[in-house]
């Protein structure tokens, strides 16, 4: 049953991701006072790119070639393990927060490596920026998640989500602050303005993406929208598991799907409004802004030690 659920999650995430990025584009167009294309545009884009020729820099090695596939594979693995419809993880082995963080780091590492590999000035710079964003945001994620893990007594997302869902947390204030810190860190991880450092269009001309074309680019685009859905689901699974099925039967299963869809839709709508109302952070000042987020996670840890 849980294998079936894991496969279902992968299918849903893969199919829904372009819809969500398409809807984000539509919101963006509306805020721009443009008409915009409909929510299915990203499916058409991916389909079109799949039929296009692939062009690769002749100075690039196998790393650049392997990266889109690897990136996609990591997202598939993540989509298996993160609880979406149920509170517990469908594949408990993959349901550990540390596993998730390292899987994300793996995709990030290859993303940056491939960017440097293409020996394009813009792509390389984008790759370096991606790494720096990782260095700045991962400690915050870890600290916030450790605080939550200590509260729940487990690093398994299912157990953590269950603790939050049933209200069995010993330090509610600390948990709340951890949720805030983790939400902010997730937003940075989504790579949206003001934190879209690696692809910053006007600064780096899409950064590493500029070196990809055809099916690779299609796969990369798909994987990147999948990553956004996964990161949001990750946050929801731990800190907002309400509506997800605790025990699996047909009713709770349906409710779980509807609840997940609603939560993800709301989260992305909020993100879309935020990303279209701000200017990109000045790259030099990125560190000072991530420090603020880190501060929140430290605060949550302090509250945890005090026990509130």
């Amino acid at each position: 049953m849980s294998v079936f659920l894991a496969i279902l999650q992968v299918v849903i995430v893969t199919l829904v991701a372009p819809l969500i990025s398409g809807a984000t584009r539509l919101i963006r167009a509306k805020m721009h006072s443009r008409k915009g294309s409909d929510v299915f545009q990203d499916y058409r884009d991916i389909a079109k790119l799949m039929t296009r020729q692939e062009v690769r820099s002749n100075t690039s090695s196998f790393v650049a070639r392997v990266m889109p596939v690897l990136y996609f594979a990591v997202m598939v693995v993540l989509a298996c393990g993160i609880p979406m419809i149920t509170i517990a993880s469908p594949v408990p082995l993959l349901g550990d927060i540390i596993t998730v963080i390292y899987l994300l780091a793996l995709s990030r590492f290859f993303f940056s490596l491939a960017a440097v590999d293409t020996s394009s000035a813009y792509a390389g710079r984008g790759g370096l920026r991606e790494l720096i964003v990782g260095v700045l945001v991962e400690p915050t994620m870890l600290l916030a998640l450790f605080a939550a893990a200590l509260v729940a007594g487990s690093t398994n997302m299912g157990a953590m989500g269950l603790a939050v869902a049933t209200g069995a947390v010993s330090a509610p204030v600390a948990t709340f602050l951890a949720a805030v810190a983790f939400a902010l860190a997730c937003y940075v991880e989504l790579g949206k303005v003001p934190f879209d450092m690696a692809e910053a269009e006007q600064e780096l001309q899409e950064g590493p993406l500029a070196e990809y074309s055809g099916p690779s680019l299609a796969l990369l685009k798909l994987s990147m929208s999948m990553k956004q859905v996964i990161v949001v689901s990750w946050f929801l699974a731990i800190f907002f598991p309400f509506g997800a099925a605790a025990t699996l039967n047909f009713g709770t299963f349906l409710l779980g799907i509807v609840a997940w869809c609603l939560k993800v839709a709301v989260a992305f709508a909020v993100c879309a409004v935020v990303e279209n109302s701000v200017m990109r952070t000045r790259y030099k000042l990125l560190g000072t802004q991530t420090w603020a987020i880190f501060g929140v996670s430290v605060l949550s840890f302090a509250f945890l030690i005090v026990g509130v």
């Binding site: 721009h32 006072s33 200017m279 000045r282």
Partner: protein, 593 residues
């Protein structure tokens, strides 16, 4: 609401008058040169009341220009080369100085260059503002500025043959296209990195943030720009050559429109003024007012574009699109006044082609009010947008001394603490009538991107007020002067304040109803050379924003795609189809099949 009388803010600036103790405008400068550099001046002639040309001994030329520039508050928009072998047996170089301290006016320093040696002493080592003009004269006339450190081409492409100088009268027909002599770009990018190891980031020739080719090389250390160099003129269109050989002097106003895709009217007014001043044509007052109004309309849409672009470069596309939505109203206004969405096709020598009628007047007043309200709202949004302050403050600093040395213009120089603005320094056309206590050049002392943006915002509001004031006090009467006498081989300077800064045109008409020589200087031409100073020390992330704060010019349209929003059918019209239709006016490509 039908004011016929002149309201309070139209009292007008005092007409320029000579300095105390002198009979003519700019005479004090001429006498100062005579006293400081004895024996330099060979001849003095006034073209108009406020334009004097001083012919000097060519060896003293750098000293005279530097003296006027630094000791007499002169600014140097450009220099002009001219092939006058058929007139006086020599080439001539004209250094145009705008005197902006005491005794305001234009002083032109003229030197004759020997047609055999073709050398003259470069002024650039003393006055850096001459650098681009002197390089251009070397490209176009083959004259050699001795002592100019930069030996590279500026205007001519790398594959242009050596020894062919397009603007010499005996060089080539304007239709002649020489065979390329090289397939490789041989332009050397120069850098002063003071021993630091840098990596090169190319920006362009095509870059996502600019619609026109320009090749920038950023020498970076990590994210920090150590130095930058750039190559432009990929789209040099040879307009001056075309104007001199193909068009009559009156048609050049329409060509001057096309110098720029945004501030065409400013160029066309500047050209018209140059000829009108040289020929002593009195332009009717009503035409002068109409020109000023259209120049301000042009400023409206240009500034909205640039304020929008600031948002775009900083990753705030919502702001960009919203400013563009409002900008459409300014384009509508241009269409109401001139018949075209850009203020094109308005000027002829001696006046304008279209009057502003009652209905257009009312529409203008209505649109001006709407624009004021909507832009105020958007500017509030922009100012409170997160990261606006941190992205623009202290970024792209232009040192006032560098601005002074290079004679920068427009919002760029006004963002560095100067209040240079042709409209107020040398009031022309309808601007003469504006109350100087109410309208002043907007200026900010912060020297950064933010300062330039704030200057543009202030100027936008000022433009709206000016349009209202000018409409209120518009005199009645004709709009075109005809029946003047044509005098060949006299020249004049026309200057306007385009949205990006001062446009200066120098025009000399010939004995064949054509321009003998026309030199058009666009505002950005004065600003490019200082860009490298503004880029140094900033990060790659800010490069686009800094280049954008200069408001460089774009102009390009070679084909059009038409999308039918109702049935979704798209259709692309090729350049050929468009050209054929423009000529024949039959078989519209949109109506086919």
């Amino acid at each position: 609401m039908s004011p016929k009388k002149s309201p309070a803010d139209l009292t007008g600036a005092a007409a320029p008058s000579p300095a105390r103790g002198y009979e003519r405008i700019c005479e004090s400068h001429v006498e100062a040169v005579r006293a400081a550099i004895p024996g330099a001046i060979q001849d003095v002639a006034w073209q108009t009341d406020d334009q004097v040309t001083v012919t000097v001994n060519i060896d003293t030329l750098p000293d005279v220009v530097a003296f006027l520039y630094y000791k007499r508050d002169g600014w140097l928009p450009m220099m002009v080369g001219n092939d006058e072998r058929s007139l006086c047996g020599a080439y001539a170089v004209y250094y145009i100085l705008s005197m902006e301290g005491q005794d305001r006016g234009w002083v032109v320093v003229r030197g004759e260059v020997d047609p055999v040696t073709r050398e003259w002493p470069s002024v650039t080592p003393l006055v850096p503002a001459c650098v681009w003009s002197e390089r251009e004269v070397r490209d176009m006339f083959g004259l050699v500025p001795v002592g100019l450190p930069d030996k590279r081409r500026l205007v001519l492409p790398d594959d242009w043959p050596d020894g062919l100088y397009p603007l010499r009268k005996d060089a080539m027909d304007y239709r002649f296209r020489p065979e390329p002599v090289s397939d490789l770009e041989s332009y050397k990018f120069l850098t002063e990195t003071h021993g630091k190891e840098t990596t090169v980031m190319p920006m362009g020739p095509m870059h996502i943030t600019s619609d026109e080719p320009g090749h920038f090389r950023l020498f970076v250390e990590g994210e920090t720009i150590v130095d930058a160099d750039y190559r432009l003129f990929y789209v040099h269109r040879g307009m001056e050559k075309v104007a001199e050989t193909r068009l009559n002097y009156d048609a050049v106003t329409f060509l001057a429109d096309r110098v720029c895709g945004i501030c065409g009217c400013a160029h066309s007014v500047a050209y018209a003024e140059a000829v009108e001043r040289a020929q002593h044509i009195e332009v009717p007052e009503r035409a002068q007012w109409i020109r000023a109004i259209c120049l301000e309309v042009e400023r409206l849409h240009s500034h909205l574009l640039n304020i929008g672009l600031v948002c775009h470069y900083a990753g705030f596309d919502t702001g960009f699109m919203q400013f563009f939505r409002v900008r459409e109203k300014a384009m509508d206004l241009a269409e109401k006044l001139t018949g075209a969405r850009k203020t094109y096709g308005l000027n002829v020598i001696g006046g304008v082609r279209r009057d502003i009628l009652k209905e257009q007047r009312q529409d203008t007043i209505r649109i001006v009010r709407e624009l004021r309200a909507e832009v105020r709202e958007l500017v509030d949004v922009l100012m409170t947008t997160p990261n606006f302050e941190s992205r623009t403050k202290g970024v792209g600093r232009l040192d006032p001394q560098i601005a002074r040395d290079y004679s920068n213009v427009g919002p760029l120089v006004r963002g560095s603490g100067f209040d240079r603005d042709v409209r107020f320094v040398h009031p022309f056309d309808g601007y003469k009538a504006l109350d100087p206590s109410r309208f002043k050049a907007a200026s900010q002392a912060s020297c950064d991107v933010q300062g330039r943006t704030l200057v543009r915002i202030q100027e936008f509001y000022d433009s709206l007020d000016m349009i209202e004031a000018l409409l209120d006090g518009m005199p009645e009467g004709p709009i075109l002067t005809e029946g003047w006498t044509y005098t060949p081989h006299v020249f004049g300077i026309g200057a306007t304040e385009a949205p990006r800064g001062e446009d200066v045109h120098w025009a000399m008409v010939g004995d064949n109803q054509k321009c003998y020589r026309w030199r058009a200087k666009a505002a950005t031409y004065s600003n490019w050379p200082t860009l490298r100073f503004m880029l140094r020390g900033n990060t790659v992330a800010d490069a686009a924003l800094i280049i954008g704060s200069l408001d460089p010019c774009y102009s390009c349209t070679d084909r059009v795609t038409v999308v039918d929003v109702h049935d979704g059918a798209t259709k692309t019209i090729t350049k050929d189809q468009l050209e054929t239709y423009c000529v024949d006016r039959t078989h519209s490509p949109l109506l086919d099949d």
